[in-house]
């Protein structure tokens, strides 16, 4: 009963401050939306909003093949060509790419069309920043279009050669016309090629939409980050209690040190649990994030993450001697754990070392647990390992907090 009273008192102190709501609930929602949008959330279906990477297209060739290439590039799923005048200077084109106005610039050199049917093919010039994901995307997209172009030319050449065998052309004009007709036919065939690729993925994401739901990453990421950030208020209560002498007074009563610790821990745990419940409900209902697809798994990851965050709050509360230190001890782990754990940016965007080190942090395991549910569409079994590791981190933090509190 004493423990409950202590926990309720702590919770009341947190809830009474309107800023707590702002920090614990409103901000995670805002940043979930911001990060979700940033990483491609909400496919509005608006055709005017083209998600493809814009690339410049400069036709210095001005012959029959370059418009065909442009048409093939326009069909790309990855890139969107934007035409530039052929007399735009190289310096200007390079500046546009260097200053990130466009992801890349494709230059069709003079004589390109003429060279393609020969063995001395000219190369397309691609200006792009090296070693970037945008660069890799552009290269893939252009390569696919060029392959289709050269294959179409080969098809037209073969078709013309066969026709000449069956029925020799009367003039060069007839032959050129036949070649052009074959080329047009071949390029059109790429609208529905005989061999295609179908892309599938596991569970929840596929059932919900063709495009991945970007909120499936930002929602758990921001939820965990702001749970840690929320410890500033909760852990601060312990510091204030110590500084104001309330703790000493409490210790003169019948309540034991263990009861005091558990009471504060319970308050933090309930605070984080309430925060998670509201944020999960919001994301599931309004952002279509699949937390409810595997309710038991969601409950398990939520509980173990909340336990970890609360135990870290206890550790911060027992380590910090002032409100200033509470800020430092909360914000620093928040930044380190969130950054390393992939709460901001998916770990696949980082280096292999970063990805490995990231999994030494509890946030990465919490993210794994939530992502197994909302992105991979998996169930309870898939979150047992993350939950067990989170409990391990909880035990470590809580043990240190108890040791520190007893020592004090």
């Amino acid at each position: 009963m004493r423990i409950l009273n202590l926990a309720l008192n702590d919770l009341l102190q947190i809830i009474r401050d309107w800023k707590s709501f702002l920090f614990l609930l409103i901000m995670p929602v805002i940043f979930t939306l911001v990060f979700g949008f940033a990483f491609g959330g909400f496919d509005t279906g608006d055709e005017e909003v083209d998600p493809r990477l814009p690339v410049g297209f400069v036709d210095q060739d001005q012959e029959q093949i370059s418009p065909v290439l442009f048409a093939l590039l326009k069909k790309s799923d990855a890139i969107r060509p934007v035409t530039f005048e052929e007399d735009t200077t190289l310096e200007e084109l390079e500046r546009i790419v260097a200053e990130d106005e466009l992801a890349a610039m494709i230059i069709v050199p003079d004589g390109y069309s003429e060279s393609l049917p020969t063995d001395q093919k000219l190369k397309l010039i691609i200006i792009q920043k090296e070693a970037t994901s945008a660069g890799a995307t552009v290269q893939n997209g252009v390569q696919a279009a060029v392959n289709r172009l050269t294959n179409s030319i080969s098809a037209a050449q073969f078709s013309t050669m066969i026709q000449a065998q069956f029925n020799p052309f009367g003039s060069q004009t007839d032959q050129d016309a036949y070649f052009d007709g074959s080329l047009e036919n071949a390029v059109a065939s790429w609208d529905a090629p005989p061999f295609t690729l179908i892309s599938t993925q596991t569970g929840a994401e596929e059932e919900r939409a063709e495009q991945p739901n970007a909120f499936s990453h930002s929602s758990p990421g921001m939820m965990v980050q702001f749970a840690i950030a929320g410890l500033i208020g909760a852990a601060g209560i312990l510091v204030i209690e110590r500084k104001s002498g309330s703790l000493q007074r409490l210790l003169t009563t019948a309540i034991s040190r263990t009861e005091i610790l558990i009471g504060h821990f319970l308050a933090m745990f309930l605070m984080v649990l309430i925060q998670f419940t509201i944020l999960i409900g919001f994301a599931a209902i309004f952002l279509d994030v699949g937390y409810f697809d595997a309710p038991l798994a969601t409950i398990l990851v939520t509980l173990t993450t909340a336990l970890f965050v609360a135990s870290m709050g206890m550790l911060i509360g027992t380590l910090a001697k002032s409100e200033e230190q509470v800020i430092m001890y909360s914000l620093i782990p928040m930044f380190i754990l969130s950054g390393l754990g992939g709460a901001w940016v998916p770990l696949e965007f980082t280096s292999p070392t970063f990805r490995t080190v990231g999994h030494f942090t509890p946030v990465a395991w919490a993210m794994d647990g939530f992502q197994n549910i909302v992105m991979r569409g998996m169930g309870l079994e898939s979150v047992l390992m993350p939950a067990a590791i989170l409990l391990g981190f909880t035990a470590a933090c809580f043990g240190l907090a108890v040791w520190r509190f007893e020592y004090e």
Binding site: I126, V142, A144, Y178, G236, I332, G339, V345, E348
Partner: protein
Amino acid sequence: MKSIDIALKDMLQSFRSLFAVMFMFVIPILMTGMFSLMFGGSGNDEEGFVLPTTKVILVNQDEGSFAGMPGEVSQNPEYDASSIGQLLTMALTSEGLTGIMDVSMMDSSADARFAVDNQEAGVAIIIPKNLTTSFLAPLGTVAVEVYQDPTLSIGPAIIKGIVSQLLDNFSASKITLAVTLEQIENSGQMIDEAQIQAVVAQYLATIQPEGQSQGSESANPYLDIRAPKTDQNSSDQTINPVAMIMAGMSIFYVYLTGASGTQTILKEEEDGTLPRLFSTPTPTATILRGKFLSVTLTIIVQITVLLVFGELVFKIHWGDLLSVALLSIAITLSSAAFGIFLVSFMKSTRQAGIMIGGVVTILGMAGMMPIFTLGMPNPPAFISIISHLAPQGWAAEGLQVTMSGGVLSDVWTNILALLVWAVALFGIGVYRVNKRYK
């Protein structure tokens, strides 16, 4: 003179505090150092973004055989594969692709999907039973399935690009034959089955086996990839994560210093030294000036140390000295004013924790959005708008511009914007504090 006395006393207290020193210098440097190690290099490294190697499971279920193809091809010794599925397998496991994908084989598509579900692989490529049969049939389409882990995006996108290009090569053969026959038909000429077989055989005799062409050339025969030449030697830093993280960390902690530095007003009020100061003939404005001066000088020291340390240890070239200096002054003034503004809304140090932590985190994250989305191929425009809603965003952008070789004319808008922020925040802060202590 009194303002300077107050400022000096506050500064002395700040620099005597181990906590303050840790917060101002050690933590941002340590965090940058940690991220630098994680990204595997210092600020002048050109490693940048590293394309990930994706674990791929390949399931070849193709039951067809080239035995059904015209004699010239089925008997050609260059075709050491017996089916299209095998050709595709040879291409995907070729040496040229080893840095991009790490391929292992499986017999069952269900096992492959299970492995992807359990994160043992990022992608499973499932070749259907009828791939070769469809290749030999005149009509119809067939699809190769790429099953991916939905938490991954870059690796699977690259794999899909490669598989698509290989499939395009097979499609090209069918398209060539279809176009040839269709064009002959359109020209009004009738050809019989034997002639069609002859055309097919002639075509197949001319093409190169796909499996042997993949990965055999080191240079791209169709594309000439060039990096943009710019006048700035350090332009690569705009995409270098370590340089941007150092800039972001410095800005974040400078604004935190601004906020926690001015918190001494509240502390002095609670300790009773502020009311005592008011009992002397010292106007509120003088006290505030002293506090502002103290925080300003502290931040100047902090920002100078961080920039110099970044230059010397992380080899980050911050850019044109005059631009960086003026930008630093603007950042300093806006962060000190930000502190006064924030403190004017607090009643006690108890409130300070959540207020400072919350507001600095929120504005810091908003301002750093372009840094978070640094490696993204096509970041949406609203990212830039959001970052400009916070002074931290103008500061980060300014440093990014100078790092990429920008000069004063390129960053004057950032400097001006930061000064406007400083005046606005300082004005509101002073008005509110004056009102409180009147």
